[in-house]
């Protein structure tokens, strides 16, 4: 039976904890701004594109990491530019992403037909993550990418929040809102690529929305919300990884989602009770 002390002396577990914390921190940070901008659908779109991009890279013999970054960053920036021209192209977006996901399954069966035995494992890793079996190269990639996202968010934070909450006034103050929006999309894409590699495409939306949603219910300051969101996201991932490490059958993704979602649930119930008591 696994004990806590043997868990914390395991190299795999410590790497999983490091990568998981970093990925959840950037998801919490970027997620807060995504929720404030009402652009969470981008995250959902990215989880589709990530699957196809990674499998396309795998099919042509490139690293899935490259496929993830190119597809996610390209898609996030593309959606941003498209949304500027046609803000209500819902049906076009829906159709496109269904088609892209279909393309992904085609790539999957193609690489299986070409005799590549690892294609099944690769697609499972992309969908559900591979926190406990992450390669050294991927760890380096995640650490570098994660620090880029954190650094950029710290520099862009204030004007980004200003242009998100109060766009016309920000424009009049000379803030380049379109440039900021495009840069932020690039960061969302990079975050998605890093997160998919470690926690999986299916967990991406959860990690971007649940901690941010809970944090924004707890405070009226967007900057405090960013900090709280990071704390909730890291807490869920660390807690989830420990639970998964101790249990022989709970995968990390399941434990992490459960923790993040229940945090959101508890906060939502508590704030609505408090709201009713104050008569709102």
């Amino acid at each position: 039976m696994t004990t806590l002390s043997s868990l914390f002396s395991s190299h795999f577990f410590l790497v999983a904890l490091l990568v998981g914390s970093l990925v959840s921190a950037i998801c919490g940070l970027v997620g807060t701004v995504l929720v404030l901008r009402g652009e969470l659908f981008t995250a959902d779109a990215l989880s589709h594109v990530a699957f196809t991009g990674a499998l396309a890279a795998f099919l042509v013999g490139l690293s899935t990491g490259i496929g993830l970054v190119v597809s996610c960053v390209g898609c996030a920036i593309g959606l941003q530019l498209l949304g500027r021209r046609a803000p209500s192209a819902d049906s076009v977006i829906g159709t496109t992403f269904a088609w892209i996901l279909g393309l992904g399954t085609l790539f999957l069966s193609l690489s299986a037909a070409l005799g590549n035995g690892a294609s099944g494992a690769t697609s499972t890793a992309i969908l559900f993550g591979s926190l406990f079996s992450i390669s050294t190269a991927s760890v380096t990639f995640t650490v570098v990418g994660g620090l880029v996202v954190i650094g950029a968010m710290v520099v862009l934070g204030r004007p980004l929040i200003f242009s998100t909450i109060d766009r016309p006034v920000a424009i009049a103050k000379g803030v380049h809102v379109e440039v900021l929006a495009t840069m932020f999309s690039g960061l969302v894409g990079l975050t998605a690529a890093l997160a998919v590699q470690s926690v999986g495409a299916l967990l991406l939306v959860g990690l971007l929305s649940a901690p941010a949603g809970a944090a924004l219910k707890l405070t009226r300051s967007p900057f405090t919300a960013m900090g709280l969101s990071v704390a909730i996201a890291v807490g869920s991932v660390v807690g989830g990884t420990v639970i998964a490490g101790l249990s022989p059958f709970v995968p990390p993704s399941a434990a992490i989602t459960l923790l993040a979602a229940s945090t959101y649930g508890i906060v939502a119930v508590l704030t609505s009770v408090k709201g009713h008591r104050h008569g709102h």
């Binding site: 204030r158 004007p159 006034v169 009049a172 103050k173 924004l216 967007p222 900057f223």
Partner: protein
Amino acid sequence: MTKEPLKRPALTWTNAAVELGERTIFSHVSLEIDVGSFVAVLGPNGVGKSTLVKTALGLLGLAHGTVTVFGDRPEIARPSVGYLPQRHHFDAGVRISGRDLVRLGLDGDRWGMPLPFATKFSARARAAEAQVDAVLEQVSATAYANRSIGECSGGEQQRLLIAQALVRRPRLLILDEPLDSLDLPNQAAVAELIATICKEREVTVLLVAHDVNPILAHLDQVIYLAHGGALAGTPREVITSENLSQLYDTPVDVLTTSTGRLVVVGQPDAHGGHGGHHH
């Protein structure tokens, strides 16, 4: 009120014209606004009132002519201008306190992120907070400044937005329909507040309105935009039954009350004209 002869007007338009696509919004507009005066931009819907003020903010370029703000190009004068955009209100779900919104008006365009507990160790952060406190006090919004902006009433939001426009101590305040969507007592109160700021702080105010009555008593100058051109002067010169009937293409009466106030009656879009009003 007599004014010292001033070296430079706050705002000038010289032979200005704006074209959007193929359409000429207005042309041959030449205007001059004195420092410290309270000026209203009036006129029928869709005539280009918001367009005119946007040229002063440097948000829209002129097809012909020039516009200056304190003698400079609008882009250069930007730090001395406070702005409240048209139809600017926040949905109930917007999660930011009024105080934080005002603070964004002070330093929201600066790179970086505010540090937690900054007021504990940074004199600059304390000075910024003091500036926000002072402007909230000035517009009497202190009581609800910590509430979510989305939970504030229309009048409260408007006061907070005026505070946001004022927080950098601008020399020119551009307000696009700040009285729109307010009830009558709030219209009078906000108009009074703007007039006080104008007179006590020597802030030049350029205010777009579609109903002149709530602000008429406070105005130094009015600009009527209509039919591609502009008519400007003191309220008594410009606001006459003859001028307004011609501008609006419908009979409009200007009455003088027993206390000597002007009242405009019959202006087509002054009341309840909230639909179909797009620029």
